[in-house]
Subunit: 201 residues, 2 copies
Amino acid sequence: MNSSTAAGQERKAPGRPRSAQADETILDAVLALLGEGQSAAAVSIEAVAARAGVGKATIYRRWPNKEALLIDAVRAMKGPLPELAGRSVREDLIALVQANRTARAQRHSKVTACLMPELIRDDELSRMYRDFIEPRREVTRQVLRRGIETGELRPDLDVELTQIMLSAPGMMQSIFRFNLAIPDDEFAETLVDAVLRGAAA
Amino acid sequence: MNSSTAAGQERKAPGRPRSAQADETILDAVLALLGEGQSAAAVSIEAVAARAGVGKATIYRRWPNKEALLIDAVRAMKGPLPELAGRSVREDLIALVQANRTARAQRHSKVTACLMPELIRDDELSRMYRDFIEPRREVTRQVLRRGIETGELRPDLDVELTQIMLSAPGMMQSIFRFNLAIPDDEFAETLVDAVLRGAAA
């Protein structure tokens, strides 16, 4: 796992011309509508066009349908993965969990939560979300597999379950605002150490 | 922690007469509408009344507002907590995680996910959801605190973080359908052991 692979996860969908300014204006309009409490079902191409000050044709030239537009908006908000130092599994896992604690990533968690009704009901949207998020999850899996190889982690580790244990608590925390005693800037380190060391005495 | 306390978490809200049959018909109507893909915002008292075949007044006699009705529907779906044997912390934690893996609890997770946009935006609904879910979380915390006292768990354990680590992965799993190698009936035991033993070699 090196930083170029991590950066590679952030590549844009191929085959679409990227006139960056218009793209950003349109994606910002989607995020603004979702952020104001519009459900994904209520965010129409018409509403996005009006908000962005562009014609509907401008949107349809860039995105084939609303689902593709929603997922690209989520992708735009997520931001790049951190560069991983590769010195220790613990350090890399902390960097990956920490990347989900930025203000931008927290907004992303909430927008994802606002998409959840549609993610559950809409198989196409769900597939597109998975295509976007899977390469990011894979970076965590690669770090875990490296840890098994180097002997930093248990040889019998369940990589997929551990990846979920590292990502799910932060997401639920940003949605449900649990009453944690941990200061926000210590969350990543505390969670990684809890996952690594275990709760048993 | 004994079973009577667990059962006590399932008590109904005080002060409202429980004419059980009509209540259930109305709550079933709410869950049916949400389960069909209606957003919580779109589930009106009118729609519930029509679906349940009762007058709006019948609903307003029982619930002061839509939020209270939604939360009661979620509560009805959640089902009772298991009786805890109290022999070992590991065994009790497995029983608590397992209680979220029943078909009924999985439906509950999805309905909760469908409420997430409203839970994020609506402080009153969020407070009501917390009032309902907190006593359930407290049962897990009590088991964890008992484990610290008995020496089964680390003396420096972060009880709140551990409670999130035990609940968040299953919820995210039922929403995002991660590709886990673990058979569903082994999920609870595998997660509890992962949390207890830790990932480090």
